[in-house]
Every structure is written in C-alpha cells, then in structure tokens.
Symmetry: C2
Subunit: 459 residues, 2 copies
C-alpha cells in the first residue's frame, strides 16, 4: 500500500519533491529545539494549490494522515507525531511567492510558504509595514503563522496575525478548494469562514495563500529600556504611557532582571543601565511629529512617581536594535543555561503582577532549586513564565501548578504558541466540555475522515 | 399548541415579558425605515442568560423558530420574517447592564442588550474609548452589533466590531451555554469559537454578553472637510494623509456633492465651503502632540498637488460636530427625498474610483431619471451606492446591475450591513457553492433543528 501511495504522491508533485530518506526528512521531523522527533512515511513538497488538493485526496483515499507544515518553528509540536497510524508531512515551503503588493490599498497577496521576514521586508521596501514580528521570523512562514494565529511583539497595537489577514485560499481535507483571496477591508457577506481556519493549527484545512493587510510605515520610532522595581510599577508605567502616547505604543515588554543576567552570561550583551529587579522595553511608533517630546514627558513623570528608576531612550536605530537584542536573546540564553519548563500564559493585564508574585512563590516553594525566567508581553497580559528546573524535576507537576494558578486568574494556558500536541491536557483543563464538543463538531463537519493533523489540539 | 407554548414562555420570563398584542409587538416587527413588517407568535424579553437558554429549549421542543433581536436597527431584515412556520422574537433589550469596566486592562463586560451609545459614553467617562460608532448607536445594542459584525465610521483605524470583542457568552440552539467572557488579549487555546458567532446574524447562537476591548482615549482630534474633484483625487489625498499621519487617521469619508445638496435641501445644513463635485470628511486622532502641524502639512501638499481644492479644519469640537453632522444626515435626507435603492458595497480601495465611474454611468444609462447618492467609507473601500429611482423602477434590475459590477471588481455585495433576508440572492451570486455548503455544514452542526433565525443569510 505504502509503495503505491508514494508513487501516487510522486506523480502529483514530482519525484524530487517526495522525500523518503531519513536524512532528508530529518529537518522536517525535528523541532527547532531538538527536543522531539516525529515520524512520517514521507515529506511531500507541493508546488501549487492544485497539487495540495490532489495530495489530500490521495491521502484520504489511502487512509494516511496529512500534517501541514510551514517553517517548523512551532513550540507546541503541532506537526510532529510519533503515534500509531501512517502520516505524511505536507511542507508548503516551495509555494513561496509574493504574488502582489498594493501600496495604495495596503494589501499583499502571498503564498503560504513565503517566509515572514521576506514579507516584512517587501512591505518596508514599498514604504509600508506588515507588523507581525517574532523571534522565528527568518524561518516561520505565512501559512504557519496563520495556522498558529501567531502573536509576537507588536500585538499590543496591531493584534494577532488574525487581525492582519483579509483573505485566505484554503484546501479542505476532501480536496475542495475555497477561494477567498479577497482584498477587502469590509465584507459581511455570509459567515466569515477564514476565521475558522486561522489558529486551527492545520486541523481544519490547509492554507495555501493569503491576502494580508498592510499598514502605513511609521516615520518615527522610540525604543526605551527602563528599570522598574516590580511588575506593579511596570503596569503603572504602561497606564501612564498609554495616557500620553495613546496606541502609538507598539510593544511593552517586561523582563526579569534574572532574564537579562542570563543574556549577559551567555552572550555578553549587557543592559546599558544598572542591574534592577525588573526591566521594561517599550516601543512606540508614529508618523506624527511629537513622539520624542511625549516620551520625555512620560519618562519624567514615571521617574517622579517612582514607576521607573534608571532608563535610556535609544538615540539611533543601532541603539534601538541593541536594546531589542537583549529581549530577543532571552530564549536562546535560557536554552544555553539548561533544560527549562516553558509556559506561554495569559491573564488579564491588571492581574499580572499578582499572578507573577503568587506563581513565583508557589514554584520556588514546591520545587526547591528551581529558578524563574519570566519575560514577555506585559502589555498583552502574556508572559513566558519559564522555569529553569534542576534535573529530575517533575515537569508535569510544574505545569499543573502554574496552569492551575493561570486558570484561577481567568487566564489562558496558551496565549500565542497554540496547543499542538504539547498542551492538549491543559486545554481540557481550561475549556468546558461544551466548548470542546463544539470544536469537535466543526472538525467533524469539515474533516469527517480525520485526515488533517489528527492528534493535534484535541482528540 | 400555541397557547401552551406561550404559557411556558410566560413561566420562564414572567407574563409581563411575553408580548402578544399586535400593538405591543409592532416596534419589534417593523424595521426602522417602516418598509417591512414581520410576524411572530410573541415577542419574548428575557432578563437573564438562563432564561434565554430555557426559551430556546422550549422553542426547540415546540418546533417554533427563534429570531434573536437587539435594537432592531438592521438594514437587511435580519429579524423580520413573514414566511410560513411559527416564530418568536427573542428581544435582548432587558439584559442591558454594564457589568464591569477595567480602565487598566482596557476591557468592559456588558450584557447583550446594552445600547452602543451607553457603552461608548461609559468608556469616555473612564477616560477610555470604545470606537465602534454608527448612525444608529442610540438604539443599536452590543448583541446586535456583534451578531452583525457592525462597521461604522472608525473601521479604517480600529476594524469592524469583530476586532473589538475579546470574549462572548453564547447560548446555542439546544440551550447549551458557552462561557467565554474572557478578558484576555491573547488566547490561542483551541479554536477561537467566538469568531464563528460574530457576524453570523443570530443563526448560530444567541450572544447574551460580551467582553469588549477598549482603547486609550486620544487627547487630540482633527476633523477636516475638503472639496475634491473626483474619487481619484480623494484616493490620492488618502494616500498622502496616510504617509503623513499614519494610522492616526480614524475616518476617511467620501460624499458626492449631490449627497450634501440633499442634506442642505431637507435639513438646511450647508457645508462651510463652496459646492464641489465631491467632498472628503477626514478625521484623525492621537494623544501625541503634532497632529495639527501634520494636518497643515497634508493640506498644503494636497492643495499644491491638486488633490483637494477648498477645505476647512474644525477649530472646535462644536465645529467638528457640525462637519460630522453633514455626513450623518445623508441617509435621513435620502429618505426624505423619496424611495431609494440601497447598496452597501465594497471593492478593493484602489478600485473604487473606477467602480464609481463605471457603475454611475451604467445606472444612468440603464435607468433614465435615476439619481445617484453615493457616500461612505472610502478609506475602507465601502461606499453606500444608493440610487434615487423614479417610481416604477425595477429595483431588482438595479441591484443586479450594481452587484454585477461589484463582483467583477472582486468586491462584496455587503460590506457592513449583512445578508439578513434582503441580500440572500446576492450572496449566492458572489460566494461559491463550496463556500455556501461549508457555511451550511457549520449551521447544521450547531443548530441541527433549524431553530435559530431560519430564513436568514441562506436557506
């Protein structure tokens, strides 16, 4: 059966684009942290939408599961499976063209395999911006960030990926193609089905192309690094900044002093201000004049009120990049430090200081020797509450403790990374049976044969 | 059967809240333009979510359809039906509390029947804003604008209603309650089902409460009225303004000179600048200083390049309101002028000048005596392309002509008003059978008995 099926795949996409050798498949079957390895009959690399549809039909007929994959940068094992049953990886990487960019209509049509960084650069070159920005943007694809509803550092102002998708082309499990590449900013004609697929992690359909929303490119950017006493002071600073700068604030990142200490230890990158218990990295963007003036006012008031201590505002693009670089190296520094237990949690923004205090104390009490590395998007109520745990620590117990406090705070156990195969148990802990049953109803309605990414999100 | 059913309803919500007399039901069964009258066994007015669930269960058991209704301000007959079968109107107006407002987390929890204007005022009183703004905001309810995914004048900057909803409480047709009132800005835990219900026009579930997203209240507002030669010049002005002001632009409205002439004739409101073929009403908001300076720069350049002729920038709030008043009276003036055939179309923004020229010429050629009243949200590619037609004009033929050109431009026959019972045929003309079939699959999965708003959106 397998041999005939592989021949069918080769006939659809060409023999060169069906990878069956372990060495060839390895990059597609290993997560970027090297922590898990999946298995598959083959990695199939279609070159166009009609090939995607044909592969899905062939797989459905053969009883083989299909796991759609973008840049394989996910953190929740969304496309890595080791369970029973046969499966193929459907890698969209060859479909990587930018088909159109409209600087007047502020739209861009791109294929699913196009790299996020490429899209961002193309927008900038046209004097516009595509604001989804995240650490993996050099590898993550548009199809992947749509399937994951990726977040990143600009959610505070521009929303998740969902908010920046105007239209989708999607292939259903049975090969049906939905042509929805509409470059419209308003369209209330029937159910807006693109939202069913955004964030569904490849379980409802395969995104093959998207029409993205662009924004004007702001003329001025302000980046500041500020020392703060604690998360409550950071929150007070956020409120103050929002009063003065409005939604010009595009990022408001909180970092523990211990997080920046890790960055300095492993990469030699030091903050240009004195060590502090916590730091805020704040960015604002605007085309209007007056950003610098308003920033000065925020910082003077913050200092006066004690919301912030020492601080620095970047005087050049290079300096701004150096400040951002501190933030961006935290995850890498954590990896060099050793094994860690990651959490991608969200709570209501005002609840964050209390959550951080409570969860930190609880983890340190229950797991002696554990060190905390909390950092992330305070402005969005999303912190990566990571725990550097001594060898032998019961990771599941740490997860349960942290996620229990998250749920008690009305929060989410996955703010931006998704569920994949990593957070399925936690999902069941935070969503009601009625919600899970309703999700399952949609999944069964769209993919009755269970072809698409079985084992992901929920069973 | 009916008598027993009405007794059951009275037992659930109280006898005073089951309206059966024609005079009592009339306001709920007539659209605000007085053009259509629906029929119903009763108008039922629940006071809380558990009553909504009980009413739905009772209706399902009795084989009676349920049409959820907010402020009854819709333009697509979404809750007015005259067809066979028995039905009740489920009016959410009594559930009108603001439950919580969090100025730090920028969220607000409100019940479905809360009036939009009330929500907006509460946000302003707390120094924040809820930016959905539309002509009917004094009557439209939060549940209604969510069911309709309402647009309005601030979509350019803040998106449709969908973009401002963080969480929903929804009752399904079988009475199942989905508790999703989460005040989270990021939540990728499973399918984000709230998006299935937003814009589904009461066909998939009944929204009983919502957690809304607020924004900082901007300190400065600029409103300008400018004369432009034609829509192409208006578009050039938009691009220029976006370069200088960025996404501080919150509204960019195009109005035909003939539209403002109607407003002057029927309401005595005159533009403070000389008559022109077209006008642009532009609004920008920011907390940063520098808005006035940047506006001056835009206007000087626009004049120099010929994008705009005469113009005025409001010097006070009162003047700004007078400029907005011109825009807001167009629909009322049109109604006083006589019968009109309305279109709520969208095309890609850069295609709008061509569409307006082509559609205007085609309508005037095919329907002698027809006069055009095009106005609306050029910044969003959404114009209300209304036709004042002589008595006896074949409205369906006008619709077909206009919608045919819209579809040929890659547009939508309903940008913001929805489908209801008014645009069902046009929906079928613009969505593929595969799309309609997929919408029907979700509807059947969530409401297999066809209890909720049968006859709306599609059959």
């Amino acid at each position: 059966v397998s041999e005939a099926f592989l021949d069918t795949l080769a006939a659809i996409v060409g023999p060169a684009h069906v990878l069956c050798q372990p060495a060839d498949m390895l990059p597609f079957l290993t997560d970027w942290r090297g922590q898990r390895r999946g298995s598959a009959l083959a990695v199939v690399r279609p070159g166009q939408m009609t090939e995607v549809a044909a592969v899905l039909r062939a797989a459905g007929a053969a009883g083989v599961a299909v796991l759609p994959q973008g840049g394989n940068t996910g953190l929740a094992y969304g496309t890595l499976d080791t369970g029973p049953g046969q499966r193929i990886i459907l890698s969209l990487g060859r479909m990587d063209r930018i088909r159109a960019l409209d600087p007047v209509g502020l739209t861009m049509e791109v294929e699913a395999g196009c790299i996020l960084h490429t899209v961002r650069q193309a927008a900038l070159a046209a004097g516009r911006q595509f604001p989804v920005s995240l650490a993996a943007e050099g590898s993550a694809t548009i199809g992947g960030i749509i399937a994951a509803n990726a977040g990143g550092v600009n959610v505070l102002r521009h929303g998740m990926t969902r908010a920046l998708v105007l239209g989708l082309e999607v292939v259903l499990a049975d090969g049906t193609v939905l042509h929805g590449l509409r470059a419209l900013r308003k369209d209330n004609a029937g159910y807006d089905w693109k939202h069913w697929f955004i964030g569904s992690e490849g379980t409802l359909g395969v995104v093959t192309a998207a029409t993205l929303r662009l924004l004007p490119r702001p003329r001025h950017t302000m980046v500041a690094l500020l020392a703060v006493a604690d998360p409550a002071a950071a929150l007070a600073l956020l409120v103050l900044a929002q009063e003065e700068l409005g939604d010009a604030i595009s990022a408001f990142e909180l970092m523990a002093g211990s997080s920046l200490a890790l960055v300095e230890r492993h990469f030699g990158l030091a903050a240009p201000i004195a060590p502090a218990p916590w730091f805020v990295l704040m960015e604002a963007q605007a085309s209007l004049p007056g950003l610098a003036e308003a920033t000065d006012s925020v910082l003077a008031t913050a200092l006066e009120r004690g919301h912030a201590g020492d601080g620095v505002v970047a005087a050049s693009d290079a300096q701004a990049q150096r400040l951002w670089s501190l933030r961006e190296h935290i995850t890498l520094a954590e990896a060099r430090e050793g094994a860690s237990i990651k959490h991608d949690i969200a709570v209501p923004v005002p609840a964050m200081p209390g959550f951080l205090a409570e969860a930190s104390a609880a983890v340190e009490r229950a797991f002696p020797g554990a060190r905390l590395n909390p950092f992330g998007h305070l402005g969005d109520g999303n912190i990566h509450f990571n725990v550097l745990a001594p060898p032998g620590t019961d990771a599941a117990a740490v997860n349960d403790l942290v996620h229990g406090l998250v749920i008690a705070s009305g929060g989410s156990i996955s703010a931006e990374h998704g569920i994949g195969r990593y957070r399925k148990a936690a999902l069941l802990a935070m969503r009601s049976p009625a919600e899970i049953a309703m999700m399952a109803r949609l999944r069964a309605a769209l993919d009755p044969g269970g072809v698409l990414n079985p084992g992901a999100v929920f069973d």
